[in-house]
Amino acid sequence: MAGIDWNPWRRFLALPNESRTKTIIMAFLVSAVCAVLVSGATVILRPIQTANRAAEEQARISDLVRGIPDMSALLETSGGTLSTVVIDLDMGRAAADVTRETLEATLADPTNWTVLDAGADLAGLGQRPNYAQIFLLRDNDGISLVLLPVTGQGYGGRIDAILAIHGDMNTIAGIAVTQHSETPGLGGRIEDRSWQESFPGTTIRDDSGAVRFNVARSAATTDYEVDGITGATRTGNGVTQMMRFWLGPDGYGPLIDAIQRREF
């Protein structure tokens, strides 16, 4: 280093570490490089992640359908695909101006949610979206299976599930829990097939039209009950309330009535 080095990079590196200039420039450089790394990874990998999430949802739905007795044969005859539709929950019919693609953007707008008052809010949700995406299986004489996404509050947090109902709209065909945070080994057993197997065949409403579905304390004794889970009373209650809310007038009630009247 005979004279002054004119290369600005080397001059910068030669500065003492404690100088204010070097501190600020180093902080800026590290942040900039890290920002580029993180943004790059996020942008490049986002399409793959979105595809993953969609595939996972699809896999759960097809698992659910496959697990329902006689359903595979039905799928074969009907061409093997489920149709999907976004419905307006208040009206109980297909939404006019919301499609699958725009559903996410629509639900990002708080005006498309209904705040539930304490009496109606069985599932402890606080608010309910006005639109939901459901799946249908049609055959020659109308709808033979409906898949309804439901959500409620368990002991450890939110429970998300997909409920399958036969074409009579009063017999449960199956359930798939897609997301929960219940205690492993206790409430967490709601994701076990052995517990979910008590759902098919359960009746939802009695003759008067009231939702009677219930998770029992122990083994199911009536047609409206499914088995309880020992040591997970609050999880069971959460499932009961979730089902009663979503199958009731504030949930899919209008849609269920419309399908039963053959107006869907």
Binding site: N17, A27, V38, L45, Q49, P184, G185
Partner: protein
């Protein structure tokens, strides 16, 4: 061969003799949280080892130019960025496992082990030895996680890597799962047991007691 010896000891020391978890009690939070099954323990181990090695390498490269006043911030920013990138990669290519790990990948950022190694070693050594040291510490951490994860999964589910090893009682076998093993406290007991076992063999790791109990004179008659 003579040149390899320090590398070799740098790499193998953290496995038992200088194990970061059992000797320095670093990285305990994740060791408790992600060891309910062997698969999550393995993923966490690999993720942490990768982050640790890369972070040590990067910080070691710029070690002469990190101003002391902001060195911790610089280290945390580098570690956090690496963690986010790894998390994104997991979500893209190992979505199953990334769901199981969920929040814990983010916890690598605040894992004391990472900052501990960058602070204690990478700041004073060249990139290659730093990375070897970080890799060795990652392996030491992994060893503890895998042992605890295997024990918890075996006794909690009767499985290893999701394969049924012990026949369950409700499927006609003889094994009744131990639900306690799936709850966080069991990891604490097991970790304590591992620390005790290691220190029983390696007596030089035993720490002197912090306090001496007061001597109790014989009560006067």
């Amino acid at each position: 061969m003579a040149a390899r010896t320090p590398f070799w000891t740098t790499l193998t020391d953290p496995l038992i003799r200088q194990n970061p978890v059992t000797l320095q009690i670093l990285g305990i939070c994740s060791a408790l949280a992600v060891t309910t099954s062997l698969a999550t323990a393995l993923t966490m181990s690999v993720s942490l080892t990768v982050v640790l090695t890369l972070a040590a390498g990067i910080i070691s490269v710029i070690r002469r130019h990190i101003p002391d006043t902001i060195r911790l911030i610089v280290q945390i920013v580098i570690v956090a960025s690496l963690v986010i990138v790894i998390d994104q990669i997991l979500q893209a290519y190992f979505s199953e496992i990334s769901r199981a790990l969920s929040v814990y990948v983010g916890l690598i950022t605040t894992n004391c082990l990472v900052l501990g190694r960058t602070e204690a070693y990478a700041r004073y050594h060249a990139p290659l030895p730093s990375m070897v040291d970080a890799f060795g510490n990652g392996l030491g951490y992994s060893l503890v996680l895998i042992v605890i994860g295997a024990i918890r999964e075996l006794f909690g589910w009767g499985q290893l890597m999701g394969i049924q090893v012990l026949p369950l009682a409700d499927e006609g076998g003889w094994f009744t799962p131990l639900s306690l093993m799936l709850l966080a406290p069991s990891a604490f007991f097991l970790l304590g047991g591992v620390v005790w076992a290691v220190r029983s063999v390696q007596t030089e790791q035993v720490e002197p007691p912090d306090h001496t109990p007061p001597s109790r004179p014989e009560p006067a008659e």
